[in-house]
């Protein structure tokens, strides 16, 4: 126990025990990993030995992304836990075994609460006496991939070492429920292998039946298709126990790596894959010839936020950079090992970044496309980035089928198709003429200071949205000038910048637009000025010192800043803090 001095000191030292990242995006844990692995087996029944809240959350979350599965629970109450939950588990296990049709396997996954109470789960299984039960106890604090690996390793116990080996067969290790796009990737990789006469014996575990898992040792080769995430430990044990070698050297994403992956397997089985590779090369090269116009012409760039799927981070980054020529402005990964590999193609690698760190990178780098999860999409939309592809979990509201792989040859085609469509179509939609625009507004003269300010504003807008934003600003400025019967003045530029640019960037523009107002006297508040938060008198006075034309922008920017920071009232301190952040402070 700490003495009072130490305790007091520790309470104030917030950098110590845990760095609380206030806008932290929580990641799936070992419990998700174990459950998603167990639930991948279609005719197994999984019992989550847990309070109902844990069960409901896990059940609902997985159901939102996956095809139907059966997950049962012991629904532990506080009283159950206090008195020992073995009898509750026994009752549910017996009921589960009595269901019709009889489950081929029952997998019991323990929850954090049970890991604390240390229930004798194995003892209950032994008492009930059914051989077809596997217990998985994920570690508290363990990662998603640790949970997956643990579950895969535990499933080795039901595999039959005595089954007869089948020639030209492989197992896939790694795809589980809720692995992003696993269904489509497995479908495509199976198709490719079938084309050279190789059959997939079992998938550990997504979409398999229990019999497939039992017969896993029939295969001649194991393939770890998510080598940066999980499966290698399982493959090593299977090599020792069943003599099955494994491959984990290639991530089959992109054309070149998919081909290398296939050739390695073909070489193992002494199969000739050349004819098939020739066909695929011909098909994809036609597409590439067309698509290469796009990255070269538009200098495409992408930010990858894939920190729950390191294999995708490695594979997609290599593909986009090496085969499509796209610049990677940022890649977020979940582990240092993946980060090292990604550094081969991207200098800006973030390992487990916070959402704020990602946001800063999006703003600073202005990628043409972002690939990521639901949270990244939310940020992208808020920041005005329209080009987005889902490529990681969580994916609320996203429907994934067998149709759109990212792995294999079809995956390469799909990535090109989706990337191209996002960038190219949005580019055309955003930057080309409107349906009901005037054919020409005629030539509008610009004041020199307005032109300079416009160019400065342009330089501050992220690369890809720049074209859209500047075109809109110019068009609106011209409309106002025509209406006023004037040229384009600084006032007009201020007005359109205020009204038609994302709020996020306004603090930057403020410095440019304010710069043109040196020497002006403080003005009255604009009659249209709207305060949506509480402002104290000194803060309002500071606003009065700002030129009238940009007061509205300053008020809106300050309020947004205050909301983001969680301030409920705007004081002079808040205004000054905002000015500092906008680069207008005194420091």
């Amino acid at each position: 126990m700490l003495n009072s001095d130490n305790k007091s000191k520790k309470a104030r030292d917030l950098s110590g025990a845990r760095e609380l990242k206030m806008k932290e995006i929580h990641k799936p844990s070992a419990f998700e990993g174990a459950l998603w692995t167990a639930l991948g087996m279609k005719d197994a029944r999984v019992i989550y030995h847990a309070p109902p809240g844990c069960y409901i959350s896990q059940h609902m979350d997985a159901l939102m992304h996956e095809y139907p599965f059966e997950l049962y629970t012991t629904s532990l109450s506080y009283a159950n836990v206090m008195q020992g939950a073995e009898s509750q588990l026994e009752e549910v296990l017996r009921k589960t075994l009595a269901r019709k049709p009889k489950p081929k396997l029952v997998v019991i996954v323990t929850s954090p609460v049970v890991e604390i109470t240390g229930d004798d789960v194995e003892g209950v299984v032994e008492k009930v006496g059914d051989k077809n039960c596997v217990v998985i106890r994920p570690p508290i604090g363990g990662s998603l991939h640790e949970g997956r690996e643990k579950a895969l390793i535990n499933l080795i116990s039901i595999m039959d070492p005595a089954v007869k080996k089948l020639d030209k067969t492989v197992n896939f290790i790694g795809p589980t429920l809720d692995t992003f796009n696993w269904r489509a990737d497995v479908f495509e990789l199976k198709r490719m292998l079938a084309a050279i006469g190789i059959k997939v014996n079992a998938v550990l575990t997504g979409g398999s039946r229990v019999a497939d898992i039992i017969n896993t040792p029939r295969a001649s080769l194991n393939l770890c298709i998510y080598p940066y995430d999980c499966g290698i430990e399982t493959a090593k044990i299977m090599q020792t126990e069943f003599g099955i070698p494994y491959l984990a050297g290639h991530v089959p994403i992109g054309f070149k790596e998919s081909a290398a992956w296939l050739v390695e397997i073909a070489d193992f089985f002494k199969v000739d894959a050349r004819e098939y590779l020739k066909e695929e090369t011909e098909m994809i090269f036609e597409l590439i010839q067309s698509f290469m116009v796009l990255p070269i012409t538009f200098e495409c760039s992408a930010a990858l936020s894939l920190d729950n799927n390191d294999t995708y981070a490695v594979g997609i980054s290599q593909f986009l950079k090496k085969e499509l020529g796209m610049e990677l402005s940022m890649v977020a990964v979940g582990s240092a090992a993946a980060g090292e590999k990604v550094k081969e193609v991207c200098s800006n690698v973030l390992v487990e970044p916070t959402i704020d760190e990602k946001k800063e990178q999006f703003i600073e780098k202005g990628p043409m496309m972002i690939m990521g999860n639901f949270y990244d999409l939310k940020i992208a939309k808020e920041l005005g980035f329209n080009n987005f592809l889902f490529a990681d979990i969580p994916t609320l509201g996203y429907i994934a089928t067998e149709a759109s792989p990212f792995m294999g040859f079809q995956g390469a085609r799909n990535l090109i198709q989706q990337t191209g469509n996002q960038i190219y179509i949005n580019f055309l939609i955003e930057t080309k003429g409107g349906m009901d625009e005037a054919i020409s507004l005629g030539e509008i003269p610009w004041d020199l200071d307005a032109r300079e300010a416009f160019v400065k504003v342009a330089s501050m807008i992220p690369h890809f949205i720049k074209a859209t934003a500047m075109r809109k600003l110019q068009k609106k400025a011209e409309e106002i000038a025509v209406k006023n019967g004037t040229g384009i003045t600084m006032d007009i530029i201020r007005t359109v910048t205020e009204q038609y640019t994302p709020t996020r960037f306004k603090s930057k523009f403020l410095s440019v637009l304010q710069g043109g107002q040196d020497g002006e006297q403080p003005g009255e508040f604009s009659t249209e000025l709207t305060f949506t938060m509480e402002w104290d008198a000194p803060a309002r006075e500071l606003m009065e010192k700002i030129p009238q034309e940009v007061q509205a922008m300053a008020v809106a920017g300050t309020e947004e800043f205050a909301r983001e920071k969680g301030y409920k009232k705007i004081t002079a301190g808040v205004v000054n803090e905002f000015k500092e952040e906008a680069g207008m402070g005194n420091k």
């Binding site: 844990c54 139907p68 506080y78 609460v113 604390i116």
Partner: protein, 414 residues
Amino acid sequence: MLKSYEHCCSSMQALATLGKVEGIIPLLHGPQPCAYQLQIGTMTCRPSRLLTAGTLIKKSEVVFGGEENLKNQLINMYRQYKPKIIVIINTCLPQLIGEDIKGVITEVELELPDLKVTYIDSGFNFPKCMPLGNDVAWVSIVRLLEKQEKVKGSIGLVGRSGQDAGAFTSFDTFLKRAGITVFPFPAPHLSEMEKIARAEIIFPVHVVPYLTCKEMSERFGSRVEYIEIPAGVQGTSNFLRGVADILKNQKLHDLVDQQEQEMRPRIEAIKERFAKKPVKVMFAFGPASEFGLSKIMADFGAEVIMIPSMKNKFAQQEKELQKKRYNVTIIEEDFDTLEDLYDQYRPDAVFCETQGRVELTTRLIPTFCNMTYLTAYGYDFALDMGEKFHESMKLDVLSSWREVVQRYGGDQYA
């Protein structure tokens, strides 16, 4: 029961409830899977703020205690966001290891006198009752509100989590047009919610906020009157007339008379359709929305079976009322799966959550998602639901798929 058919954990409900109110920040005190699942879940059911502060308890804290970490997080949150109130949502794990939450709060409040911190014990404290997470979240707020001078003749309407904040307009316009001062609870901002202390009489509009109303009664000295949920044509009229009787407000009676007169042709048309095409509908474990929806359907003549999610005093009143008025069948016995229950009662349609829908849709049974029917108050909602119900079952679509799987699907679909 082998499954649980509620929408989410009571901790998630508490998080979603508190996360919707400006001025309050919830702090989730639990392990990583709790934080991940609850963050994802609440993103679907609240104005989705990315901020979900969590303590992410680790194994070492289970062994040595996590109070110090909790204290640090509270101070950190206050420094960054300056909230009026922080509510610690104390999940199963810290409850199990017996952390001294009250002690931490006392220490933090000594250090930060401007901050109010409170806590709730959710999770396995409320097994099988997600809406209780809502109720206890409100209680935690009410505990921190000050007693205020009452406004003569005023009433408070107390509802459920966030979505109710905008849903009262479907019936409270009658109250306002009758000249009654109304204080709603919940409201989007804490400063508006505080005004509930000024209401002379509090009318709960749902079965959920029983503990909340009890706390309000004790803390503010308010009189609490449960009439019934203002859902369905008859339910809405009875609620408004009940308020009119208590306040002796004839104008409110007149407004209800007038509304009923105007709706009569639509109601008769709906009842005629239900008579021609009778339906048996099962409501399974909505987040207490089964209590309101069942009345809407029973009102029009449907045979109703309800599996209630709550057992508090208001729920008991509502169940008795529905049994007597509509002969609703209430199921409170244990069962293993919803599919088993379906086989026993054979309803034409089932209202349930995703888990149940997946189970029943596999058999091409018409299902409705409870979570899309959360604001079932007032006349308009009831009429709209009654008019569209038969088409909404999509029997033609289900029958088309039945034909496909039977014709081409082989033995497995026989």
